[in-house]
Amino acid sequence: MTAKLSIRNVRKSFGAKVVLDDVSLDVEEHGVVCLIGASGSGKSTLLRCINLLEPVDDGEIVLDGLDISEPGLDPDPIRRRIGMVFQSYNLFPHMSVLHNVTLGPAKVLRTDKAEARAHALELLARFGLDDKAHAYPDQLSGGQQQRVAIVRALAMRPELMLLDEVTAALDPVLVGEVLNVIRDMRGQGMTMILATHEMGFAKEIADLVCFLKDGVILESAPPAKLFSSPDRPETAEFLQRVIASGRL
């Protein structure tokens, strides 16, 4: 079985600082990969590179057999196949929820207005947001905003979803509603890569967990293996610290 997304020997530096050092990773179709590791370990940068928001210095990022990191390639047709959700939601504050969700389909996919609207309302209803369609982002709670951001990405019918610490800015009591949305997406067979600090959730949802440290994937294994008997002492130490902070 060939991978949906294949990252091969990717390197990325910001000036003298190496943020991704020879990173390789395969993501199967319908697979869910969780990236864990301390802040600054390169998780977010890896996701931004996959979505071509940052150019890589070396290596390949192959989506369905196409190297999307090829310099000179138009990024827009690739980005519309990949959904991305950010830690800080990045909703457009001057547009209603419905307008946020229909902007991409209407302008990028050139979907018919009525159809884009119907699809958006259907998605909003699926995640319990139908009564918020005409509200503005600032009128919603953090959890609701993040669910809208996920719906906005889903409205583009992406083949792959990148979720960048989507619960990190949320109140603990609001985290659950966002995690439910991700469970729902997994149930629908969405291929996903998540950067996350929610270890319990990673354990539950991931097919593969990658531990990053200083831009290197030190260890990647199915969650049952990685969380119970990690091979590397660094992984064990990281997990120990997470347990000490009460997050696992």
């Binding site: 928001l53 827009d76 519309r80 991305m84 001057h94 902007l103 991409g104 600032d138 583009m156």
Partner: protein, 287 residues
Amino acid sequence: MTPPTRRQLWLRRQRRRAVVVATASTVITVVVLWLLITNSSGWPRVKKVFFDGQHFRDDFPVLLGYLWQDVKLFLQCAPFILLLGLAIAMCRNTRNPALFPLRAFAAAYTDFFRGIPVILTVYLVGFGIPRLVRDWGDFEILGFGGAWNSPYLWGPVALVLAYSAYVSEVFRSGIEGVHESQRAGARSLGLSHAQTMRHVVLPQAFRRVIPPLMNDMLSLQKDVALISLLGIVEVFKRASSIKDYSGNFTPLVAAALIFLVLTIPETRLVDWYTTRQRRRTSGSVIT
């Protein structure tokens, strides 16, 4: 209804006291100032020259007749200033290397016209260019027409040149003030650079720049009086010519009042607009 608690009563008393104190201190200040001014030795002279009732009654209606001229000049300049200002701001934001000359020109333009006094721009453009185009005869564009060397053409052009430099900086800071994460959000949906600009960045930039833009528009409303240097008669020009033959400055005070009548409603309108905008997009308004 439950009776108010001790604390609520205290707060209410406190608020009532604040109103009383504010009113009293305002009244005292005004009275003291009034007494100081009217009791100074020069006051009768100032009153006669600047605040003469008879002159005011005679001149105010005359000047009011020229109000439309100032409004008209403003309305002629403002749309061109906004368009040119936005265009220059966009030029400065281009990243395409082929468009570098445009970017350099836009930077030089803003440096140049922000660097010289508006009054000099009006003088140089308003007296210089008409000499250059004196032999061209008449022009007609979209129903507007006149002589090529008319001050009604070059006066507004001078103001457009000067003000679009200021306004372009306002637009530029508005565009740069939209957070990078908004661009990332838009680009991640597959929107192109131009689509991101049009649907995400500019609408937010416009909302942000309305207050500083209104500031510039208020200055413009006042600075149209500078065009009178080129021989156009409007409120200020008429007031100063009345002053010249009567020797009394009251018409200038009347002109000041007329400008206030124009500008104060404009500021109130903007305040109302920004508050409404905030109330619409966020749950509450902190005053």
